[in-house]
């Protein structure tokens, strides 16, 4: 017996005392070993595991009660990753779906790193893609150990032991056992060095069933626990006052009114604000509202988003940094029989997740403990340690469900997490402090999808062939000035231009970028990042070019994507399912758009009805998606529908504007998000594919706005050059 299996046996003996069975990979960090109050979908955390040993692949725990818990390294924020990653493990393990559980991983940033980032975090629609083999291998290794254990117990040949639906059996001898029954023995088996994964034809869970999401019940009964719901002994709630302009500083505070309010315990000042600490939210908020703060805004410019857009437009008249270049676009445009030009304007957008930002922090002599819908452990953990001057090992993060994020909870500066930590530190208290932003702080807190302007020129020859494409993009960089700036190795932020002009085969092409120097408005990725604007500009402009040539927009696209079979696949499927080419009555229009983002290909067709007063409805959306192997079809349907809804919401009414340096919007009465009556029926078709799975959280978003804009053109003959669409057609 090897040393490794001896240590496993030792682990097993100690953990059995604590009521646990086989822990595969048994790399339980301190965080897991401690009593986490809530670590999973509405369940009390892993109190069963008191003993911490370390070994790679700490992803599976099989208990004597026959439950299989998968430790999920990604944040569950609605995208379905708890269900998705658990499906992978269950498939290879041969488990029954009803015995599967999921639990958030501790911030053991090396063990649980995102293999696509090299650091622990969730984003870029990578959760499924980076976990596909890793989770299956973890499940397969557990299966082999269970089979070995069964073979040992029954005295049979291991190769004759089969496993399915959570039952180990030996047909010849008539033996059978559950995983729970075999957990003790399996823990002593050596970890297999190589495992064979199932052939896709043998999948029984992946792609085959509409599994009940592991979080559906907790989220349908009010039992799911979010950061907002954390209640700890002696916990205080902090409500904050932020500067009226980004970057302004506190000059002086009169907190006497706040301190007079019943329930208020303390008022603290920290680098970017003032916080009132109280026994409950309401007292803290009353205290916050009673603060008299004078802010020093002298170093902050009186930014105005209209003036900013005017500046962007003038920048777009000049050549920018070339991010893609082929042929000679100037010559092509000069020699073209027809040149079409269009400019597209995009506002700042707020993420506005339903759960306003919040974070619980507790600083004690032992270190710092965080409770959070934690999306970016790889950044947040070292940032907290650096601010407090402690070792990262002294930072413990409990990851809870997030009530949405759309990118916001993964901040390259760890902004709101550090704010909670700074408040806790400034208070000098050792008790837990729950920082809660009101909706107004959330809406005005910056870190928006940046404002952008795109200027496009397209050249057509006398036969209607597209010979030249110039796209000038103007907008702030998301990573410039952040620890992620190395992403700009090529001299520009690739997220500012990603997808521009793609996948169209045009001989002379130039994508150029202007990145204005930082001017104080914090920006961040917002569900589908650069594709939110590049997809719109590209897909609306290609549609405009198609019409200029008198060709059908689908035909026109097809001819320009001959070497992009997966684009073609979704384009054709969406067109066919939507009945593309069928005549529509007057006042109605149909539009299409196709965008690849995060390695997933999505085409969407939107049908609209425009009334005489210029108001309109989106009547139906047809989606075709190619995301490789469709692991959980039901989750894919949900994410496509949700992506369409999220993108449509922005297209119809969302915008953040600045006047005199202040954000004008503050809550849902003036930041208009989509409500149920505006939600069209969405019909989703999945392309059958054997490619490795890619993500679905973001890629449903980009095509909807251009599909709707193109449909509005089809109905009215009028183009949309500015988002949101709002009531432009009424003018």
């Amino acid at each position: 017996m090897t040393e490794q299996s001896n240590s496993r046996r030792h682990f097993f003996k100690t953990s059995l005392l604590a009521g646990a069975g086989l822990t595969l990979g048994v790399r339980l960090s301190q965080a897991l070993a401690d009593d986490a109050p809530v670590a999973g979908p509405g369940e009390a955390g892993s109190t069963a595991l008191k003993q911490g040993l370390f070994a790679p692949n700490a992803f599976i725990r099989i208990a004597p009660d026959n439950t299989v818990t998968v430790i999920i390294k990604h944040l569950e924020m609605g995208q379905g990753t708890y269900t998705g990653l658990t499906t992978l493990v269950a498939e290879e393990l041969g488990a029954d779906w009803s015995q599967m559980r999921a639990e958030g991983a501790p911030a053991d940033t090396e063990t649980y790193k995102n293999l696509a980032f090299g650091s622990m975090g969730t984003g870029g629609s990578t959760s499924m893609a980076n976990s596909y083999l890793q989770m299956r291998q973890a499940g397969a290794a557990a299966r082999e150990m269970l089979k070995r254990a069964a073979a040992r117990q029954w005295g049979v040949d291991e190769r004759k032991v089969t496993v399915s639906n959570g039952v180990l059996s030996h047909a010849g001898a008539g033996f059978s056992a559950s995983f729970g029954e075999m957990a003790e023995l399996a823990a002593g088996m050596p970890v297999p060095e190589n495992v064979t994964l199932k052939n896709p034809e043998d999948f029984v869970l992946i792609g085959k069933n509409n599994l009940t999401r592991l979080d559906s019940e907790a989220k349908s009964t009010g039992k799911a626990i979010y950061t907002q719901d954390i209640q700890l002994p002696d916990m205080l709630v902090a409500v904050v006052a932020h500067p009226p302009r980004f970057g302004a500083a506190v000059q002086s505070v009169d907190d006497s009114g706040a301190r007079a309010i019943r329930g208020v315990v303390n008022v603290v000042q920290y680098p970017n604000g003032v916080a009132v600490l109280a026994n409950d939210f309401w007292s803290a908020k009353k205290g916050r509202d009673a603060l008299e703060i004078s802010w020093d805004t002298s170093k902050t410019p009186p930014l105005d988003s209209e003036a900013l857009m005017a500046r962007y437009k003038s920048l777009a008249r000049l050549p920018g940094v070339k991010t893609t270049s082929a042929g000679d676009v100037d010559a092509a445009l000069k020699g073209a029989a027809q040149v079409i030009s269009a400019g597209y304007e995009f506002p700042y957008l707020a993420h506005a997740a339903m759960e306003p930002l919040n974070c619980v922090a507790q600083i004690t002599d032992a270190g710092c403990e965080i409770w959070n819908g934690e999306q970016f452990q790889g950044i947040d953990k070292p940032s907290i340690a650096a601010v407090l001057g402690i070792d990262p090992a002294q930072v413990k993060i409990n990851t809870l469900f997030a009530g949405g994020s759309f990118g916001r909870r993964a901040n390259p500066h760890a902004d709101y997490v550090l704010e909670a930590v700074q408040i806790a530190r400034a208070s000098g208290l050792q008790q837990p402090i729950k920082m809660v932003w009101t909706r107004e702080e959330d809406m005005r807190g910056g870190h928006y999808r940046p404002m952008f302007y795109h200027q496009l020129e397209g050249g057509l020859d006398e036969h209607g062939n597209l010979t030249g494409w110039r796209q000038r993009v103007v907008g702030q960089s998301i990573v410039q000035g952040t620890p992620m700036e190395p992403m700009m190795a090529g001299g520009f932020d690739p997220m500012s231009v990603e997808g521009s002009g793609e996948p169209y085969e045009i001989p002379n092409r130039s994508i150029e970028l202007h990145t204005p120097a930082a001017f104080g408005v914090p920006v961040q990725w917002w569900r589908s990042v650069g594709h939110t604007h590049t997809g719109f500009a590209t897909e609306c402009f290609i549609d405009e070019l198609a019409h200029a040539t008198g060709r059908d927009p689908v035909e026109f696209r097809r001819a320009l994507m001959k070497d992009s079979p997966r684009h073609l696949g979704v384009l054709n499927l969406a067109a066919e399912k939507a009945g593309w080419g069928n005549r529509l009555p007057a006042g109605r229009g149909r539009g299409i758009a196709v965008v690849k983002s995060f390695n997933t290909y999505v085409a969407e067709v939107a049908d609209v009805t425009v009334k005489a007063d210029g108001s309109f409805t989106v009547d139906r959306v047809v989606v075709a998606v190619d995301c490789g192997v469709a692991v959980n079809p039901d989750v894919i349907y949900a994410q496509m529908g949700g992506g369409v809804g999220f993108g449509l919401s922005a297209a119809l009414g969302e915008k953040i504007t600045l006047k005199e340096g202040q954000v004008e919007q503050s809550n849902f009465h003036d930041y208009l998000v989509m409500r149920m009556p505006q939600m069209p029926p969405v019909e989703v078709h999945i392309v059958h594919s054997g490619e490795n799975p890619s993500g679905v959280g973001e890629p449903g978003v980009p095509p909807i706005a251009p599909a709707v804009a193109n449909a509005l053109f089809a109905a009215t003959g009028r183009r949309i050059y500015q988002l949101p669409i709002a009531n432009q057609l009424a003018a």
Partner: protein, 152 residues
Amino acid sequence: MKLTINNQPLELDVEPDMPLLWAIRDHAGLTGTKFGCGMAQCGACTVHVDGQPVRSCITPVASVEGKQVTTIEGATEASTITQALQEAWVHYNVPQCGYCQSGQLMSATALLSSNPAPSDTDIDSFMAGNICRCATYQRIRAAIKRAATQLA
């Protein structure tokens, strides 16, 4: 303040102007009812007062003294309408992030209480006050219809 929440009489030591939402969450310890906007815009905080849906974030606790307050926890226990809706919610895997869903369920319960067989338009207009940023609207519609059928 003397309140009755989910048929439980409670005496809470809070100011009369405190919104019912915070009395429920921070003092009664029931966290199923959510904070989303604080100004009656999103519906995340929806509870029932004497059977009627109200936005607890703008309802002073003093105004519900002597009335019956029902939260998602109480409705889960006692309301056959809520239970039918929950069965349908799980059947269709309605929730994504889930944060809005307690409010959606409390509004949907109120809808089916007053209109046992709602049309799409009835559903849309009744539910328009409940925002879902994950845009689960389509599944909410389907689930309400399923529950209505089951209850019929």
